[in-house]
């Protein structure tokens, strides 16, 4: 049956739209957008007081399939995405086996289709086995459907290999997503380097470990002319480096994650392994710089870096604990609370960072906008919705989040993927 979303606040930056309107969804596409639409034989959904957005897209997700399906798989990950308002995600390549050949890309595309809940895309590794030595077969991988190249989880240590990879990727218009970390500077580090790491007796990761690689990769982007996308920016200096690169018209984009503008390193005090993440949580100064970068457009995308880990991997000594936290279910709420409510971004900015910009990065066709004829991927966000983060209500298979116990404001009320309502008022359909 067709669906008509009535009287919602429709926010669609692609069409410079922010107004109360109705949206008619027909045959998986957006059929019509306008005021007072009158349609028979369509399910009427009242969206008064809610914000109707192009479906949210996460450009940085780990679904652990194949390899660690005990931590997450396409179905549970998709449910977590829907609950958080996401209609599309991009999975990173550090699975087991690594997504470094056509076969694994095809496996992911077909398994993701079987899960059938959201759009699941994949990156492919820059180098075979993420080892930083040998390029993956980019032409075949691209043809199989990979949307970007990334060795995420690790940097490409050898700049010459990165250069060649980027030159090659350019031919297929694939962006290279760079995990910026100098492994020599960050060696054995488990948290931000500073007074707190001194107090806790933990090995710190200096901010420079990130920034030197951001600076290096920007120069390689300039050299190669390829599109560089910097993953999970965490420091003030990285934001500044990207800002300068953009001024120099280098093809660089970047993303940050909600934990880098919501939390600081204080979250790891008491040795809370759920707050152990890479890059590490930084300081209030960095939080402010990241918010500024989001508001002035230096930071293009808010991604989740959704990184599920089992309790066994987190319930251990801080030094031995796995890095990363789950994020899909909370990213939209956190962005609303910290950015929209605090006037860092307006709703248009929110939709840019969480939908159209990731769509552009990955060259997704007919996604990221509410244009007539576009895919009917729609997120209806309820700013008055609330959620308390509790283990029992987390959809993800893994429960590793430092947000446990927090009250969140703003929730996804309805999520439509490909014209079908997949999630509505707390229930999966």
């Amino acid at each position: 049956m067709d669906v008509i979303l009535k009287n919602g606040r429709v926010v669609d930056p692609a069409n410079s739209m922010d107004t109360e309107a109705d949206i008619l969804v027909k045959a998986g596409k957006i059929a019509q957008v306008g005021k007072g639409l009158k349609v028979q034989d369509a399910r009427q959904v009242d969206c008064k007081g809610k914000v109707v957005l192009p479906g949210l897209i996460d450009s940085h997700t780990h679904f652990r399939q194949p390899g660690r399906e005990d931590e997450e798989d396409f179905v549970t990950g998709s449910r977590a995405a829907l609950k958080g308002g996401f209609t599309s995600v991009l999975c990173m390549a550090n699975t087991n086996p690594v997504v470094d050949n056509k076969g694994v890309v095809e496996y992911i595309c077909s398994e993701a289709a079987k899960a059938g809940l959201i759009n699941i895309y994949t990156v492919a590794a820059v180098t075979k086995g993420l080892e930083g030595k040998e390029l993956t077969e980019t032409a075949q991988i691209s043809a199989a459907g990979a949307k970007a190249l990334s060795d995420d989880g690790k940097p490409v240590i050898n700049p010459e290999i990165l250069r060649r990879a980027m030159e090659y990727a350019k031919m297929f218009n694939l962006p290279v997503i760079s995990h910026c970390e100098d492994p020599f500077l960050s060696r054995n580090g488990v948290m931000n380097e500073g007074l707190l790491s001194t107090r806790m007796g933990l090995k710190g990761i200096p901010r420079a470990a990130e920034t030197v690689m951001v600076a290096r990769d920007i120069e390689i982007a300039r050299l190669s002319g390829a599109r560089l996308h910097i993953a999970h920016v965490s420091t003030k200096e990285s934001v500044e480096a990207v800002r300068q690169a953009k001024k120099r018209k280098i093809a660089v984009t970047c993303e940050t994650c909600p934990h880098y503008f919501v939390l600081t390193e204080e979250a790891v005090s008491e040795y809370n392994t759920n707050a152990k993440v890479n890059p590490p949580l930084r300081t209030q100064e960095d939080v402010e710089a990241i918010k500024k970068g989001l508001s002035d457009g230096t930071i293009d995308i808010i991604s989740t870096d959704h990184a599920p880990h089992s309790a066994e991997e987190k319930d251990v000594e801080f030094d031995f604990a796995a890095t990363g936290m789950i994020g899909l279910e909370f990213a939209a709420s956190l962005s609303y609370m910290e950015l929209v409510k605090k006037n860092v971004l307006d709703w248009k900015g929110f939709a840019e960072k969480l939908s159209i910009n990731p769509s552009r990065l990955l060259s997704l066709k007919n996604k990221g906008s509410l244009s007539e004829g576009a895919d009917a991927d729609i997120t209806v966000f309820d700013p008055s919705g609330t959620r308390k983060v509790e283990i029992s209500s987390i959809e993800s298979k893994s429960k590793n989040t430092p947000l446990l116990g927090r009250e969140l404001a703003g929730t996804a009320a309805i999520v439509i993927v490909g014209g079908k309502i997949k999630y509505e008022n707390g229930k999966f359909c």
């Binding site: 500073g194 007074l195 001194t198 107090r199 007796g201 040795y271 319930d315 801080f318 030094d319």
Partner: protein
């Protein structure tokens, strides 16, 4: 004494108040005499079980704790293991819960990872005593150092205490810094810049890379053990270079005050951070530290054994 002991665990000195530290020091004074009796045993911990859970090799600290517990009539169990041997599927928490299920009262824990005792403290009901965790803290060593200083100098407030060596990796340094600054001492840390933890000056200490500055005017000099394996990590060029710049020898001692105390947490690398003539010289209180260690640990065992509130 105004305060009573309320804490289930002794994890660090950072979270203790000056009054709590004073309480432990006062209590230590009362316990010191027991080790001088012909019968070095009191019945206080009769029927209580103390587990020494050591994930890192240690002779001194383990022996000191063991004697402290034995002199208080506790039953002792020793578990010596390494962090890596636990990775066979069993986590630290599993092991601790198993120990807990055997109804023990106090777990004394040493671990190569900072924060490991904190993790256990929140999840098991026996009291946890941190016997050194990674580069974080070694609270009983800090307490015994402060007790030894106070025995000689009668006070802590206003004293100039210099800690010299590998500050970055030293749990002894951190516990000393917290304890001493809380009690009003002026602490100077000295060592190569490569072995200085970031932003350490924000802990309220003076930082110097010049050993002369650390020696002159110091009432107490605490020399830290240098881990010889750091040499391969480019944290200092060579042992010889380190000794020359930061080792304490008779020549440098000429700059020291006439009533300076020389301390060292042991074991001493003779000829590296301190020469034998200084370590065994008239200013050295290194062996007194060892003696006082037992009294401090008895005092801590006594105070913790009285805490009635336990986590479920």
């Amino acid at each position: 004494m105004a305060v009573a002991w309320k804490r289930k665990d002794l994890l660090d000195l950072e979270s203790l108040s000056a009054e709590e530290i004073e309480l432990i020091l006062e209590t230590t004074g009362s316990f010191k005499e027991i080790s001088q009796r012909p019968i070095k045993k009191v019945p206080t911990l009769r029927g209580q079980t103390v587990v020494l859970f050591f994930f890192e090799p240690s002779t001194r600290t383990r022996t000191s704790f063991e004697l402290a517990a034995k002199r208080m009539s506790a039953d002792i169990v020793n578990i010596q293991t390494s962090a890596s041997s636990l990775t066979k599927g069993e986590t630290l928490k599993d092991t601790a819960r198993n120990i807990e299920a055997m109804k023990v009262n106090i777990i004394i824990m040493r671990h190569s990872c900072s924060g490991a005792p904190h993790m256990l403290a929140g999840s098991v009901s026996p009291s946890i005593i941190n016997a050194g965790d990674g580069s974080h803290e070694h609270p009983t060593q800090g307490l015994l150092d402060i007790f030894t200083i106070k025995e000689h100098k009668k006070k802590i407030e206003g004293l100039n205490v210099s800690i010299i060596g590998d500050i970055a990796h030293s749990r002894v340094a951190r516990s000393n810094i917290w304890g001493l600054t809380k009690l009003g001492a002026k602490v100077t840390v000295c060592g190569p810049a490569t072995l200085m933890p970031p932003e350490v000056e924000k802990l309220g200490v003076k930082v110097t890379y010049d050993i002369k500055e650390a020696i002159e005017g110091a009432d107490v000099i605490n020399m830290l053990r240098i881990q010889l394996e750091r040499q391969g990590q480019n944290l200092f060029p060579s042992i010889r270079d380190y000794s020359m710049a930061f080792g304490l020898d008779a020549g440098k001692m000429k700059m020291a005050k006439k009533d300076v105390l020389i301390m060292h947490p042991g074991p001493v690398n003779r000829g590296v951070e301190i020469t034998p003539e200084v370590a065994d010289g008239p200013y050295s209180v290194i062996l007194e530290q060892v003696t006082n260690g037992i009294a401090v640990r008895m005092a801590v065992l006594y105070l913790l054994s009285g805490v009635k509130e336990r986590v479920e």
